[in-house]
């Protein structure tokens, strides 16, 4: 393999008119493209010397066919020079730093030395516009300098002061070119321009290169009409105007007409180069669509760089909607049969697999049902010829097979594929799964792998890629597989784990103590990989019973020892441990759950303590199996009891409603009282705050407390029999606050952390008196979502809700751009074998990765060593 080469330097220069003429193969003078027979005009824009796009014709320059000819440049001689829009900044700078008479730098040699240093001691700095004072006298010829005005996009003018009035005198491109031509080479070097490759007068175009037809092909529409590329359209315009300009010039037309035509030519050349220049109406297609000219081809998201080079579309990929399938393993992905039939893996024919591959070839490209063995779509002969398998040729091709052939066989169960969801923000956005061919039209995945992809099933689509080589498959399996990515390198904890119903289900199963008959126990454990039930925990009237904790313990590895507090723990001052009435004290000894409830803290994505410990003790593979078992078990558990939520789950009893009303009305009275104190001028302001701010804070506090009190009242009525409470306590979804708002009181709506103050003069809505400071006039909602909001409350709720939407919209776009910039800055850094972080050039960024050399993925939530875990597993008790 060739050794990597080091780039010494990159030189940027301008194309000189001479160079343009040398590389040109044809001077273009006609604006027409094809004649009536559909044959290109000689010296027209589609001249055969510029390359060929029609099959059958041969290029007149290189004599190659359409697919082989790379295309060749032509040129247009412009009647008069025009400015290149891309260089207006440079032209402006040069006009301002050089003399209008002698074109030399407006600095004496001493002044130059002051800025750039002496010859022996060059500082490497270059001169800029700021180093030259405005409207000074030339130190070389004594000419008074004038101010140069630049008007976008391409107009330059000099400002003369005559009799106290300012007169603008326009500079034509020809004038400017004359000035730039006279700038001495030595002066240019001080300005950071290398005159051998970039004489400044080359920024004024006298001859325009015509790009080869291969980069502006014309397409033939369905009705047989030719449709030209946008660039060709623009070139036609330029040639037409150029032609008219020449004719008028030769006929001696008046100056006014010449100037108009010159400006028109300038406009067309400008829009040909860049159709989005400020101060210039974009050139449009007949339909009104702005033309896509040179600059637009390169710029932006769909431009050549971001759209075609950094990112492009690929073969062997598929995309469709995703949907959940809790019966799949987390390491699997369900693929529709239609996709599996279309996608293939190349397999080399060897003496060992020839019979198998021959059978696949015979099966052909149509796999009718899931039970059928996979077939093959193509066979590649040793001479690289691709044979498409179809109904008729299966037997003949199968007979031909011998070692050296390659069979492109269809995807089948167990194949490794890469699965991806955009935006690919971290490495877990692309993971390798095992294929499971399924019915239907969607990709299926276990909901436990949603968190790393950040996927849900409201219409999300995902991409699938099939690795085509052994190396790629090995890399996918070893580096990208789901098992390898359970731990997040962000914080060293599991990112894959139970979500939503998994957490609710396992909570309902393990909370307190329940007993199950053998029938029920086996129902729960149906999809769990275990060999036999343990001895029953209790025998009742000769009926053996198993406890919920026993059933859960079956999915735990026997060597597991850990003690922790569940999500439902309320952080009491003195922990009652085993006797906790919420059963929130979890103790697992030798793989037996002795007490405690399993919930989000134990198996949830991002938290999953048990998952984390299993990875550290038994490895990634066992952890993946555990997640599979836990998802299967919890889904069965939640189905056994059933789990639903309805509008009547938000109902409270009469006493609670009375209490809530009482709490709210006392709070409102309290607010009124405080407002009265303030209006009487009796309010003592808090340190560093005005009385108004103090009042606002007091009101917010009183109302906030009132809402929390209603929540407590509602919570007293709603116990673990309520599904929303189960979800909130177990950490599956939602919080008690959501429940408070549904059943108790929605509470204060705010904009930027303050009560709602905007609206009309001195009031928020015309429903209130001016200067009303009351709770209801500034967005306090006393009703619950269940009870229903009144019109003013509804409006305030919409105000508060809108703020949230705007915030998320702004935040995502900002953080997205932030991330893009950071990735671009960091993407090529790597940790070298000596532990340093280096750039590709070997420059050191960090002397030790992260200063402690720890891989965050292998750390325990940031700590290099999981001391608690080690001690727990040795002592088998809490530390």
């Amino acid at each position: 393999m060739a050794s990597p080469k080091r780039i010494g330097k990159i030189e940027f220069g301008l194309l000189s008119p001479k160079e343009i003429r040398t590389m040109s193969v044809r001077k273009i003078i006609w604006a027409d493209t094809y004649d009536d027979d559909g044959f290109p005009y000689p010296q027209g824009l589609m001249d055969l010397n510029l390359g060929v796009i029609d099959p059958g014709l041969r290029c007149k320059t290189c004599d190659q066919k359409a697919s082989e000819c790379p295309g060749h440049f032509g040129h247009i001689e412009l009647a008069k020079p025009v400015i290149h829009v891309g260089y207006t900044r440079l032209i402006r700078k040069l006009l301002r730093v050089t003399c209008r008479g002698c074109s030399r730098l407006l600095l004496s040699p001493e002044e130059i030395v002051k800025v750039i240093g002496t010859e022996e001691e060059a500082t490497g700095d270059i001169l800029s516009e700021k180093d030259i004072k405005k409207e000074r006298v030339c130190p070389h010829c004594g000419e008074q300098q004038l101010k140069i005005n630049f008007e976008k996009p391409t107009t330059f003018s000099e400002v003369m002061v005559e009799e106290g009035r300012k007169i603008e005198h326009k500079l034509t491109p020809a004038d400017i070119r004359a000035r730039l031509e006279k700038i001495p080479d030595d002066d240019l070097r001080h300005l950071g321009i290398n005159p051998t490759v970039a004489r400044p007068e080359w920024t004024i175009l006298t001859v325009l290169p015509v790009p080869p037809v291969t980069m502006r092909p014309s397409i033939i529409l369905e009705n047989g009409q030719r449709s030209e590329d946008d660039l060709t359209h623009k070139l036609v315009d330029i040639i037409r105007i150029n032609q008219r300009f020449k004719e008028n010039q030769d006929a001696g037309a008046p100056q006014l007409i010449i100037e108009d035509l010159w400006e028109l030519l300038q406009y067309h050349v400008t829009t040909y180069l860049d159709n989005e220049v400020a101060g210039c109406p974009p050139a449009r297609h007949r339909s009104g669509r702005p033309l896509k000219t040179l600059s637009q081809r390169l710029k932006g998201k769909d431009g050549r760089f971001r759209g075609s080079l950094s990112g492009k579309r690929v073969n062997f990929s598929a995309r469709t909607v995703i949907s959940p399938d809790p019966n799949l393993s987390v390491i699997e992905v369900g693929i529709p049969l239609a996709v599996a039939n279309e996608m293939s893996v190349p397999v080399h024919v060897t003496p060992y697999n020839i019979e198998e591959l021959r059978q696949m070839t015979l099966n052909g490209p149509v796999r009718a049902s899931l039970d059928d063995p996979c077939g093959a779509n193509y066979v590649i002969r040793p001479d690289k010829r691709r044979l498409r398998l179809a109904e008729g040729n299966l037997e003949t091709v199968a007979e031909m097979l011998e070692p050296g052939y390659i069979v492109e066989r269809q995807i089948r169960n167990g194949d490794i594929v890469l699965f991806n969801r955009q935006p690919s923000l971290h490495r877990m956005s692309i993971m390798a799964h095992r294929v499971r061919v399924m019915d239907g039209r969607t990709f299926r995945l276990n909901p436990a792998v949603c968190p790393p992809y950040n996927a849900d099933f409201d219409g999300d689509e995902m991409n699938l890629h099939i690795p085509q080589t052994e190396e790629a498959r090995a890399e996918a399996a070893i580096l990208c597989s789901v098992e390898e990515n359970i731990l997040s390198p962000r914080f060293g904890g599991p990112i894959i784990g139970g979500i939503h119903d998994h957490v609710s289900g396992i909570f309902m199963l393990t909370n307190q103590v329940r007993w199950f008959s053998k029938e029920d126990a086996l129902y729960l454990l149906k999809h769990v990989k275990m060999e036999h039930l343990p001895a029953p925990g209790r025998v009742e009237n000769d009926v053996p019973m198993w406890s919920n904790k026993q059933i859960f313990s079956l999915v735990l590895p026997p060597e597991l020892n850990m003690v922790f507090k569940a999500s439902s723990c309320e952080n009491c001052d003195i922990c009652k441990k085993d006797l906790c009435e919420r059963d929130a004290y979890v103790r697992i000894i030798d793989g037996i759950l002795e007490c405690g409830t399993i919930d989000k803290k134990a198996i949830g994505a991002f938290d999953g303590q048990i998952v984390h410990r299993i990875i550290r003790q038994c490895g990634m593979k066992r952890a993946a199996e555990f997640i599979d078992d836990i998802t299967h078990l919890s889904i069965r558990a939640i189905m056994m009891d059933g789990f639903s939520f309805g509008i009547d789950d938000e109902d409270l009893s009469k006493t609670e409603y009375g209490q809530i009303d009482e709490v709210l009305s006392t709070a409102l009275l309290d607010v009124q009282r405080r407002i009265r104190i303030y209006e009487d001028g009796q309010l003592e302001p808090m340190p560093g705050r005005t009385p108004e701010e103090t009042l606002e804070m007091q009101i917010m506090q009183v109302l906030g407390k009132a809402r929390d009190r209603t929540g407590e009242i509602a919570g007293r009525h709603l116990g673990l029999g309520n599904s929303a409470v189960v979800m909130a306590v177990s950490g599956a979804r939602g919080s008690m606050l959501n429940l408070t708002q549904m059943a108790g009181c929605v509470g204060q709506q705010s904009v930027r952390g303050e009560r709602i103050m905007r609206g009309y003069d001195d009031r928020t809505l015309p429903h209130f008196k001016k200067n009303d400071r009351g709770a209801d006039a500034h967005g306090f909602i006393t009703h619950s979502y269940k009870g229903g909001l009144n019109p003013t409350e509804f409006f305030f709720h919409a105000i508060g809700g809108r703020e949230g939407l705007v915030d998320t919209a702004v935040r995502t776009s900002q953080s997205g751009y932030l991330q893009r910039r950071m990735i671009n800055a960091l993407q090529d850094l790597k940790v070298a074998y000596d532990g340093t972080v280096r750039t590709t050039g070997g420059r050191i960024i960090q002397f030790r990765y992260g200063e402690d050399g720890t891989d965050p993925m292998k750390s325990s939530f940031g700590d290099p060593v999981d001391v608690k875990g080690i001690v727990e597993s040795v002592l088998k008790e809490e530390v």
Partner: protein, 83 residues
């Protein structure tokens, strides 16, 4: 001038020390690098001014680290480019 704050006395400024030539050559050989590969710092950096380092000197910076407790870093003093 004596009233001027010595930035090194500030609690958030890590310890800066100029390295001797032997130390520098040892550093270069242990990481098998040249001065090109070191992180840089400008000559007019307040900490560089206080310890009086010149262009081409290598400075050892010892700071307390959140992850490692104590971390060493080395920087080459260079001239600040214009603009």
């Amino acid at each position: 001038m004596s009233i001027r704050l010595n930035v090194l006395d500030h609690i958030m400024v890590p310890d800066h020390k100029i390295m001797s030539e032997e130390e520098v050559s040892l550093l270069f050989s242990s990481y098998s690098i040249t001065s090109e590969h070191l992180p840089k710092m400008y000559q007019d950096d307040p900490a560089v001014k206080v310890i009086g380092a010149k262009i081409g000197d290598v400075i050892r910076i010892i700071r307390t680290s959140q992850t490692a407790g104590r971390a060493e870093s080395y920087r080459l003093v260079i001239k600040r480019p214009k603009k």
